[in-house]
């Protein structure tokens, strides 16, 4: 390394005094960032990534404190600076981008004012100059009508726009370093892709160094030059991105990488990391990862492993670095024949059939709104036909707000559809009496997204899992109930003795298991899993996915598996439905969907996923614009406003569902011969392009 590091962090310790004791959130972290490079920090939730980032600017608030260490920026020791000297660096030399732009921006000032304030704070620009610069910045980060938008409040912008505003604010004073704390975690894949490429572009153009905090390995692979892997307050491995991915030398990093479901991986159990991260109050002696490490040795108990050289500019904190070869076991099977382990031939008998289901929400609040004609209808589910066969898993993907959960809830009959029928095992749920419906409820169960909110915090595990049993009369006595709850707990891999504990005594993954046990309690045939893993870290996500597959195998359950991550969906599903603005635009088996041809929207979704392969060439297809307002969907094909292939026809008439092969339906004019017949563009062009894309994707895996 010939260059001087821009930021040099040495032996940083940051602690929080809490009622439980001292939380050592950052426990001796050292790293450096060179000018113009992107340094990634990854690790699971609670590892100390954010605290590290905030410590750099000494933004730790009481009860936290930086207790030890040195932070040098451009040769200056930041920790020795006075508050006002520090202030002149914050936002000027080092800027920060936070995860949730909505709460990070001040709700009662316009975005323009907020950026103006930063500019005027660090320069002696006049109001007018500052505003001019603000408008330029907003323009630069891709906000249309920048001068008008500058006068809007944060809540008036979409999520993607708000994150652009944050970025504009970050570059407003031409900083040398940007600390981006999970800048895209809250965003949809398509928006995430846009924001990441914007960030990359700006970073390259202005030669800004970026400390990119994320837990997404794909983002790391795509964005970073060098990476630090954090675990329990320490850096366990650091090095150039390619060697981290290809010459992994810490077992934790290996575990993280393997746990990610990847396109084209075989549908089998994912490798997982056992156990959970220790809490940072009482870190065990020795290696903090040893309890979860398959390579643990007696020596790991005593020695705290230092970061040691494991290659060129590659360090790892494992005493066995030298002995182990830890290259992740990605599948290298190019010609994977997925039909082998998919069950598309088995049991084609439909279990649940939805016909022409509609579910509209009114945005008006109360009769006055209605009187005034305020408020619109959100067509959350708009004329959907779908059928799920016995024993199969139907995946449902789509952007946030497209109506996935609403469809799920309507199928579970938690919502009464406004129109259409839901037929379950031959009987029409929509026509049932309350009493019949209650009986039917034991057949359809739901697993929810948020493990924190899906369990009643005031009830014990026994009550939570036992209640459905009582309601459906599946147990006769208290002891029988307890027995059954124990069985269910062990079924989902939880300790049976946890019966009388409350939900808050469990980790997120354990809670999700409890949720699954509750769904299983009434012995359902069909489970709607509404983003059951979206809120979880990859390592836990893998375990839950494994569990769901095990259960399916054992009980022959059908799933509707909702997620916004195509990787996850394809890993578990037999068929996939892609949803856009209340409609299903494409449905087919995984093969059909991933082998061209497919709908332009599916294509965009797929191409937007950052793949955990460093150096992979970006084949991203950019959609145009933002997700439209669901209360005012575009006329014609709803996707035309963002479709790269949009044709005049698309604005005029909604496409009909076309069967492109057996069971593969696409709603797109491109595949409608009556529309395409008189067009210049040949459908083959489209198909060819998509064929190429698919090849790239498959290649990446090797």
């Amino acid at each position: 390394m010939s260059r001087e590091p821009l930021l040099e962090v040495r032996n940083l310790h940051t602690e929080f005094q809490t009622e439980e004791g001292t939380v050592k959130a950052v426990d001796g972290v050292s790293y450096e960032i060179y000018p113009g490079e992107v340094y990634g920090v990854v690790g699971e939730s609670g590892a100390g990534k954010s605290v590290t980032g905030l410590s750099v600017l000494d933004l730790i608030q009481s009860p936290g404190q930086i207790t030890d260490g040195e932070i040098r920026f451009d040769g200056v020791d930041l920790l020795s600076l006075s508050e006002s000297e520090l202030r002149s660096i914050r936002g000027n030399d080092i800027a920060v981008i936070f995860q949730d732009a909505l709460s990070a921006l001040n709700p009662s000032f316009t975005i323009g004012t907020q950026i103006d304030d930063v500019i005027r704070n660090h320069t002696d620009a006049t109001d007018a100059e500052a505003r001019e610069r603000t408008v330029n910045l907003l323009d630069r980060v891709g906000i249309p009508n920048a001068s008008e938008r500058a006068n809007q409040f944060p809540h008036q912008l979409s999520g993607g726009m708000r994150q652009r505003v944050m970025i504009a604010m970050a570059i407003s004073c031409e900083p040398d370093l940007i600390i981006a704390d999970e800048p895209t975690t809250a965003l949809d894949v398509t928006i995430q892709a846009e924001i990441l490429s914007l960030l990359q572009e700006l970073q390259r153009e202005n030669d800004i160094a970026v400390q990119l905090i994320t837990h997404n390995m794909g983002v790391v692979a795509q964005m970073c030059d060098r990476v630090g892997v954090m675990y329990a307050g320490t850096l366990v491995e650091t090095g150039p991105v390619s060697s981290i991915f290809r010459e992994t030398s810490h077992p934790y990093t290996k575990g993280l990488l393997e746990a990610i479901p990847k396109i084209n991986d075989p549908r089998e159990r994912l490798p997982t990391i056992p156990g959970q991260m220790p809490d940072l109050v009482e870190t065990p002696s020795g290696c903090s990862f040893r309890t979860r490490c398959p390579y643990e040795k007696p020596a790991c108990r005593t020695d705290e492993p230092p970061l040691e050289k494991a290659g060129d500019d590659h360090h790892s904190a494992c005493i066995r670095t030298d002995e182990l070869t830890l290259t992740p076991e990605f599948s290298s099977d190019d010609e994977l024949d997925r039909s082998d382990d998919r069950r598309d031939e088995r049991e084609q008998e439909p279990l649940l059939v939805a016909e022409g289901v509609h579910k509209y929400f009114s945005t008006s609040s109360g009769w006055i709104d209605e009187l005034l004609g305020h408020g619109d209808q959100i067509r959350a589910v708009d004329d959907i036909d779908i059928s799920i066969n016995r024993g199969e898993t139907l995946g449902l993907v789509g952007e946030s707000g497209c109506g996935k959960s609403t469809l799920g809830k309507t199928l579970a009959h938690l919502y009464q559809p406004d129109d259409g029928r839901v037929v379950y095992a031959g009987s029409d749920l929509t026509a049932m009496s309350k009493r019949q419906l209650k009986r039917e409820r034991s057949n359809i169960q739901v697993i929810f997204q948020d493990p924190f909110s899906s369990l009643n915090p005031r009830k014990t595990i026994k009550q939570i899992i036992g209640r459905p049993l009582e309601i459906h009369g599946l147990v006769d006595s208290e002891t029988e109930k307890e027995e059954r709850v124990r069985e269910l707990l062990s079924e989902v891999g939880l300790n049976e003795s946890h019966l009388d504990r409350y939900p808050h005594e469990f980790s997120g993954g354990q809670k999700q298991r409890i949720g699954i046990a509750r769904a299983l309690a009434v012995d359902p045939d069909f489970i709607i899993a509404d983003e059951p893993v979206s809120a979880l870290d990859v390592s836990i996500q893998a375990k839950i996915l494994n569990l769901l597959m095990d259960i399916q195998q054992e009980y022959d359950i059908s799933y509707l598996f909702i997620a916004h991550d195509l990787n996850v969906v394809q890993h578990i599903s037999d068929r996939i439905a892609v949803m856009y603005l209340g409609e299903i635009v494409e449905i087919g088996t995984v093969d059909q969907l991933f082998d061209p041809p497919y709908h332009p929207y599916t294509e965009i979704l797929l191409s937007s996923i950052p793949r955990p392969i460093p150096g992979a060439e970006s084949s991203r297809i950019e959609p145009e614009g933002d997700f439209p307002d669901p209360s005012d969907p575009p006329a014609g094909c709803r996707f035309h406003s963002r479709c790269p292939h949009a044709m005049p026809d698309c604005e005029r008439s909604p496409p009909a569902s076309q069967s492109v092969s057996d069971g593969h339906l696409v709603s797109c004019h491109l595949f409608d011969e009556t529309v395409m017949s008189d067009k210049e563009t040949d459908i083959d062009d489209v198909l060819n392009r998509q064929e190429e894309l698919n090849e790239v994707l498959v290649e990446d895996q090797s």
């Binding site: 959970q276 739901v446 459906h472 997120g508 993954g509």
Partner: protein, 302 residues
């Protein structure tokens, strides 16, 4: 006594980590502890008042009227020759009874209506909320005044009046809380396995709204003491010879210049009681506030 209560409370809370954490937070708040102790003393005084009163609070005596505070009459006597100290002690009992019953009425009414509105939404909510809006257009004291005008003065009437007057705020708080709790997925989960609406409201949702309700109940407790005093000041509360603090202040006002003690001591009694309860309420809120109640051990793997 206090240390006993303290220990008992402590042991009780010890059992459960969540409560322990709340209690720890509560205990660090000096003002909250002051409020707790004060409230305990207040309740004890209310209970044992008849035993420790030196005189009958209603006993008049023309020869002993308007005596200044002395050893014999620590708070002096009023113009009927009644012992102010005994009356203030007895008044504690009255105000406790009023406050406890008002809180009960307001809480039961408010929680049921608020829960129903927040759970069912649509026209039920609309009807309840608009009714509450209408009630809100009248300040508490006015509502109390009108109800008392209708029912006639008297302690029970005041209790009912204030119960009615404070119910709307409870409805609002509960409704707000119910609306947010209803969005929790466990409510949906209960629905999905066929739980009855009544159970969903009262067994799933209500326990999770306890802290909001409890904090509001403490506030109503304090405010109903104030409101009762205000209405007694206007002569609308308990019937003689029952002494209430508000009546005592208003009766003392005519002798304010020559015998200020008649009004002063009951005034101080109200103030310190309400102050104690307010501290307790604020302490409770801070301790129960879900925002500060972050579960530290919910992260990590399985």
């Amino acid at each position: 006594m206090i240390s006993f209560v303290h220990t008992y409370f402590h042991n009780f809370l010890e059992e459960h980590t969540r409560y322990r954490r709340i209690y720890a937070r509560f205990r660090r708040n000096t003002l909250a502890m002051f409020g707790l102790y004060f409230t305990i003393i207040y309740v004890i005084v209310a209970i044992v008042a008849p035993l420790i009163m030196p005189y009958d609070p209603g006993s008049t005596d023309g020869a002993r009227r308007l005596l200044a505070p002395s050893l014999e009459h620590p708070f002096g006597t009023d113009r009927y020759g009644r012992d102010v100290f005994s009356r203030v002690l007895y008044g504690t009992r009255i105000s406790l009874r009023v406050a406890a019953l008002v809180v009960t009425i307001a809480t039961v009414t408010g929680v049921v209506t608020g829960l129903v509105a927040g759970y069912y939404r649509s026209w039920v909510d609309e009807a309840i909320s608009r009714t509450v809006d209408v009630f809100f257009a009248f300040p508490n004291i006015l509502l109390g005044l009108i109800v008392v005008a209708i029912l006639g003065p008297g302690l029970n009437q005041i209790i009912l009046a204030l119960g009615i007057a404070f119910a709307p705020i409870m409805t609002r708080i509960t409704r707000g809380s119910a609306i947010s709790v209803r969005e929790e997925e466990y409510v949906l989960a209960a629905k999905s396995y066929g739980e009855h609406s009544f159970n969903i409201m009262f067994r799933e949702m209500l326990p999770n709204m306890v802290s909001a309700v409890m904090v509001q109940a403490t506030i109503i407790f304090a405010f109903s003491i104030l409101a009762e005093a205000g209405l007694s000041y206007l002569g609308l509360s308990a019937q003689p010879p029952t002494p209430t603090w508000g009546v005592m202040i208003s009766e003392g006002q005519r002798n304010l210049q020559t015998a200020p003690w008649i009004s002063l001591f009951p005034g101080i009694a109200i103030m310190s009681t309400v102050l104690g309860l307010t501290f307790l309420g604020v302490g409770l809120r801070d301790a129960l506030d879900p925002k500060t109640d972050v579960d530290a051990d919910t992260t990590g793997g399985i």
